[in-house]
Amino acid sequence: MMKPNRPVGLVGYGAYIPRYRIAAKEIARLWTDGQGGVPVSAKSVPGPDEDTITMAIEAARNALARAELDGERLGAVWVGSESHPYSVKPSGGIVAEAIGASPWVSSADFEFACKAGSEAFTAAMALVGSGMAEYAMAIGADTAQSRPSDALEYTASAGAGAMIIGPAEQALATIDATVSYVSDTPDFFRRADRPYPVHGNRFTGEPAYFHQITSAAQRLLDDLGKGPQDFTYAIFHQPNAKFPQTVAKRLGFTDAQIAPGMLSPQIGNTYSGAAMAGLCATLDVAQPGETIFVTTYGSGAGSDAYALTVTEQLLAARARAPLTSAYLQRQVFVDYAIYAKWMGKLVMG
């Protein structure tokens, strides 16, 4: 397992979920005459003026509000996504400028499918843990793409989570250790200049999501000398409702442990935002002394696992920004026509 020389923790966190939803049954109405099961009940849809950058900015502002920090105190602003609005021009630079972190800041965009945000999170632990920066921000944000009628279309959604890593003594939750597990697994990819990603068929599921997550999670548990029963809560990457429930059960975690961070049934797979928004939702309810186990997953493939312990500081910090539930509750459903228009799926002739 990896631990920084200087103990670190979260000093701020913030989620963002767009206001709009499309019901999975509405998507099924178009493609399967409404027959068959659906992997989630609804997914979040970015509004016509939203993208990865705008969602990252709002999540970042929520995190800064909880940390009671000005943006200029950040040593890094790193944005993980697979849907950066530009191919060449960093989202991180625009986010840093918008939150007042520029110009004396390190900034970059990270890419590792659904775990781009957690790569940034681990790097931020190292930057603060080495003493190179007092605070570093890691954001996971996505407006995920999906081909019309593809299985992905039921789940590929939009959302963001932002974390500020700082010294452990100021933390609302200490980050006790992390593990990263990576392999070349072609389960899901999108070639340059292609609009939609594809699944690598037989690599989906067992060799990808389940193997990477169980490898990283079990290694961290073993290295810490702990078991699932030692954690109050757990969050696993959420490509649908079933996968995180299945992997939790395999590792020995219960439905009750993953319940507060399970957002996918309501909002689908927010990709880089998924595990991070799930962590935000869990921090929204956690109490001092409780422990949180997080394992992210990115196709391609790899997983990062983290163990956190909540401190007294969480109670005051929590109320300084909107809870994840405030974003979940403001849902407004759109039909497939509006969804297709906003997502640029209409060919205008």
Binding site: P48, D51, I53, T54, Y86, A98, A326, K341
Partner: protein, 131 residues
């Protein structure tokens, strides 16, 4: 030219930066260059809170070029808590959610796409307060 015109406004659009008069305390938005005879030190830059109330609004149904995809959308005058009156789009709301005097807050959104070989323009909009 188009890129520079948008870039120049990033402090205003991203951070709602206005100015405070160093003698009188008056606040204005957006920032302006010094008037004739005024010292540059007369006005200092400040970041406005982004909180305000809905002063007035109108719903656009026939949009200018570049905004057709958003129709119908509200455009409002927002009275910022520091005083200035700002014209901006409202977002994340329906006409039925709006009435004069409700509390609104600034969010940063995608304002305009200036073309495939040009920049994406981001800036402030307002929405009914979330909390």
């Amino acid at each position: 030219m188009e890129v520079a015109r948008h870039w120049r406004q990033r402090g205003t659009r991203y951070r709602l930066e206005g100015q405070r008069n160093t003698r009188t305390g008056a606040i204005r938005f957006p920032a302006q260059p010094p008037a004739l005879g005024e010292e540059p030190s007369e006005w200092e830059s400040i970041r406005l809170s982004g909180r305000g109330t809905l002063y007035s609004f109108s719903v656009i149904r026939q949009a200018p070029d570049g905004f057709e995809g958003l129709v119908p959308y509200p455009v409002a005058l927002v009275q910022l808590e520091e005083g200035p009156l700002v014209t901006a789009q409202l977002t994340d709301c329906a006409e039925a959610d709006l009435s004069i005097g409700i509390a609104v807050e600034m969010v940063t959104r995608h304002l305009l796409d200036t073309g495939e070989d040009n920049v994406l323009v981001y800036g402030y909009k307002f929405r009914p307060c979330l909390m």
